[in-house]
């Protein structure tokens, strides 16, 4: 049984490779760093388009929408004892672009570069930060990024610079250390083992009731389940469906599902002759057992969703209602010149639920004569192949946009301004699959500048319709759901859609 003033969390830390806000991608990191660092602003857990103040007590957007100004609190202290100032904020954001690591990507799409960032992000005085936009874009999108991106954490510039080596802006040091102002201090982090945090007593908000948080790397779902049942852990994440279903029946345990911005999808490569044929793509669309997958594989992992835009946005159209139809698919394949099907391969992460989706896909493809071999691998291998455009079919998850904004999804899944191999737009899944529609590109670019909200929504709906008729290379199957299981004595835990789940309010009532 866990002590009353400690919170013990079992979760997979497979993707937790670095704690540096400039380089750490992946949801695991956000859920750790959210408790160690602060952001300027925060998004509401269940209603992410609602922005609330944090380190910034207020902000304003200039008339022309080109500049955002933040007024900071003056009572925020870092764990080191240093005061948090506007300089730290500016430095933190500049650092992301200067290092040009994974998380710079989003900022670069807004037009920031390592060279111009000092000019566009500036501390006006000790408690005022001004962000000017290098290109015209929707400033709300930028605000959302500041409230959700792992790169938006404010680091203690003085402390970090003490540990700078060879002009790395403290990158090496920050990989395993933390210089934040969050409600908890990092005590010890061991990769793929555990993260230990202790309460930061000088936190500017109410100090947390929990003295210690232990996050433990656990991948075996049954182990998590057994330990949760015994009360040896308080919160379990990343469990498998059957265990979740079983635990839901336990009175001492409750579950909390949070919807995420990412989509489970089946992708095909249009660099491949077969799949560049629209009829074949349409056939594939008919060969996915959406219902079967969502009913028997996806519960607790995701909910049925077939649009490239994520659920819950005003612009998202109702489901198009694709369904498994082998007969139709066969006809289409015959029209496309493949009456007997063909051989292909499916690349997939060797994890639940990916592998099960792939297995299901394999069997439905087989019904239309398509003989697909499954090639499993780590994320690195699967997405690596995708980035190099060396795949035929793939079961994956993406749509990265954490920001509650249609652009964020579309940019990641559909947008592809240059389809040449040399362009190497590897961060766009549109480019990776080779789906290129100038029509869609234009609408996406214009929609971002559209000031009229209603019009903007219509534009985004157009995109979805065109995508449907042109039959994109990515077929969304399910919108990701993150199901967390908690002991019922854990209160005030609120899963965050953007994964920035903050544990500072959690209490235990026994």
């Amino acid at each position: 049984i866990t002590p009353e003033n400690q919170l013990v969390i079992g979760m997979s830390m497979d993707n937790l490779l670095s704690l540096d806000p400039a380089s750490a991608s992946g949801l695991d990191v956000v859920s750790v760093n959210s408790n160690l660092y602060d952001m300027l602003i925060e998004l509401a857990p269940k209603e992410p388009s609602k922005i609330s103040p944090a380190v910034a007590k207020s902000w304003s957007i200039s008339e022309d929408g080109n500049r955002i100004t933040f007024e900071l609190r003056d009572d925020v202290i870092f764990h080191s004892g240093n005061k948090l100032t506007a300089h730290d904020v500016a430095w933190s954001l500049q650092r992301v672009l200067k290092l040009n690591l994974a998380l710079a990507s989003t900022w670069k799409t807004y037009g920031f570069t390592a060279d111009n960032v000092e000019q566009f992000i500036q501390a006006k005085d000790d408690y005022t930060v001004e962000i000017s936009l290098p290109e015209k874009t929707d400033p709300n999108l930028v605000l959302y990024t500041l409230g959700s991106s792992p790169s938006a954490f404010i680091v203690d510039s003085k402390e970090v610079l003490k540990h700078e080596k060879d002009g790395d802006l403290g990158h090496a040091w920050l990989t395993t250390n933390v210089a934040g102002s969050g409600p908890f201090q990092l005590r010890d982090w061991r990769a793929k083992d555990r993260v230990l945090m202790t309460r930061f007593d000088d936190y500017w908000r109410e100090p947390s009731e929990m003295k210690r948080i232990v996050m433990r790397h656990m991948t075996e779902s049954q182990s998590l389940r057994l330990m949760l049942e015994r009360g040896d852990i308080d919160i379990a994440m990343g469990m498998s469906v059957p265990d979740i279903e079983a635990l839901k029946k336990d009175d001492n345990i409750r579950s909390e599902a949070t919807i995420r911005g990412t989509l489970y999808y089946v992708a095909v490569s249009m660099k491949d002759d077969k799949f560049s044929n629209k009829k074949v793509r349409e056939a594939v669309r008919y060969l996915i057992d959406y219902k079967g997958i969502n009913d028997s594989i996806m519960p607790n992992y995701g909910v049925l969703h077939q649009r490239p835009l994520k659920l819950g946005l005003d612009a998202t159209l109702p489901e198009p209602g694709y369904a498994l139809n082998v007969q139709k698919a066969k006809t289409l394949l015959a029209e496309a010149g493949y009456p007997d099907g063909f051989k292909t391969s499916i690349r997939v992460l060797s994890q639940l639920p990916f592998i099960n989706i792939a297995t299901s896909l394999q069997s439905t493809l087989a019904q239309a004569g398509i003989d697909a071999e499954i090639i499993t691998g780590t994320g690195n291998q699967v997405y690596g192949a995708m980035r190099e455009r060396k795949f035929e079919m793939l079961v994956g998850r993406g749509g990265g946009g954490i920001e509650p904004h249609p652009h964020s999804s579309l940019r990641s899944l559909v947008y592809n301004p240059d389809n040449s191999d040399e362009a190497k737009l590897t961060n766009f899944q549109g480019w990776r699959t080779g789906f290129y529609s100038p029509e869609i590109n234009t609408i996406i670019e214009n929609a971002l500048l559209e000031k009229d909200a209603q019009k903007q929504i219509e534009m985004y709906q157009d995109v979805q319709n065109i995508y449907e008729t042109q039959i994109g290379a990515i077929f969304p199957v399910s919108q990701m759901l993150d199901t967390v299981l908690l002991r019922t004595d854990v209160k005030h835990y609120e899963g965050h859609q953007a994964a920035t789940t903050r544990l500072r309010e959690v209490t235990k009532e026994r």
Partner: protein, 300 residues
């Protein structure tokens, strides 16, 4: 002329016949002795059963092992599905039956690769000694110090997951002990009078190694291989468990456990059946190997 050649051929056939007879006799004798030890016999029976099941899988299986029926998933064992169904509604009994083919395939392939390599390296190294021995033994050392599962992992990581790659990987980890065994035997045999005798008759090294030394090492190598089978099965299952062995939808037993373990607390049959199958078969091979060793042990 004619008589001469017929005589020759008859004598040759006679001698091969005689050798064959000898072989049959020893085999027959061995069988008798195997049967006398109930444990070994049990092992033999299970292994033969495995063979039969693998050969006649299509007739024995009650369902298509790959046919999914999501509506029928996770059914408990019943008259219709003897060992229940898995998360895709596939019949576990049929998957086990077909899985025996994979198991046998892995074993056979590994044995075919490992036996000759180990035997050749071991005997050559032991017979010639000197620098050849040193070089071969260093190589063997390197492979021995390379942790087995890790080497397998590395190879699978290098070549991509898959049955063939797993087999190659396992083979790479299994030959060194065989080579060492063969070498140790050869070192002893090399000094034996009957080897010296053929040397004195002018036999070449190749001839001595392959006609005189290899047959002597064979029995212990076979015993060792038989006992290795269990290890091979377990390693393959381990790779399957880590998701690096046979790929879906192949009904490899280890992979079945690996995917089934998510359901094991509610649906125990998902892991119980393949786990028991792995254990039974490797136990059988162990029993058989153990019995064979007692049988072929010169001390008996």
């Amino acid at each position: 002329m004619i008589t001469n050649s017929t005589m020759k051929s008859s004598s040759i056939s006679k001698s091969t016949n005689a050798n064959l007879m000898m072989l049959l006799k020893t085999v027959g004798h061995g069988c008798k002795r195997i049967i006398r030890n109930p444990l070994t016999a049990a092992g033999l029976v299970v292994v033969i059963l495995l063979l039969v099941i693998a050969v006649f899988a299509p007739w024995i299986a009650t369902h298509n092992p790959l046919a999914q029926q999501l509506s029928n998933s996770l059914q408990a064992p019943s008259a219709e599905h003897w060992f229940g169904t898995d998360e895709f509604g596939r019949d576990i009994f049929s998957r086990l039956v077909y899985g025996s083919r994979i198991t046998l395939y892995i074993i056979a392939l590994v044995t075919i690769i490992v036996g000759p390599i180990g035997l050749a390296i071991g005997t050559i190294s032991g017979y010639f000694g000197g620098i050849i021995d040193t070089v071969f033994m260093r190589i063997t050392d390197i492979f021995i110090s390379f942790p087995g599962l890790v080497l397998a992992l590395a190879f699978v990581a290098a070549l991509g997951p898959g049955l063939e790659h797993a087999v190659i990987a396992i083979a790479l980890t299994t030959w060194p002990p065989i080579a060492r065994l063969a070498r140790a035997e050869t070192l002893q045999l090399r000094k034996a009078d009957y080897i010296v005798a053929v040397q004195l008759q002018g036999a070449s090294a190749t001839r001595i190694i392959f006609r005189h030394i290899v047959p002597m090492c064979l029995s212990s190598v076979i015993v060792r291989l038989t006992m290795n089978m269990a290890g091979i099965i377990l390693t393959a299952a381990g790779l399957g468990f880590l998701g690096l062995g046979a790929q879906a939808p192949l009904p490899e037993w280890g992979a079945m456990i690996s995917t089934g373990r998510s359901y094991m607390l509610e649906n125990w049959w998902l892991v119980a059946a393949p786990g028991a199958a792995i254990m039974l078969v490797s136990l059988a091979f162990n029993l058989l190997g153990d019995g064979l060793r007692d049988l072929l042990d010169p001390r008996n």
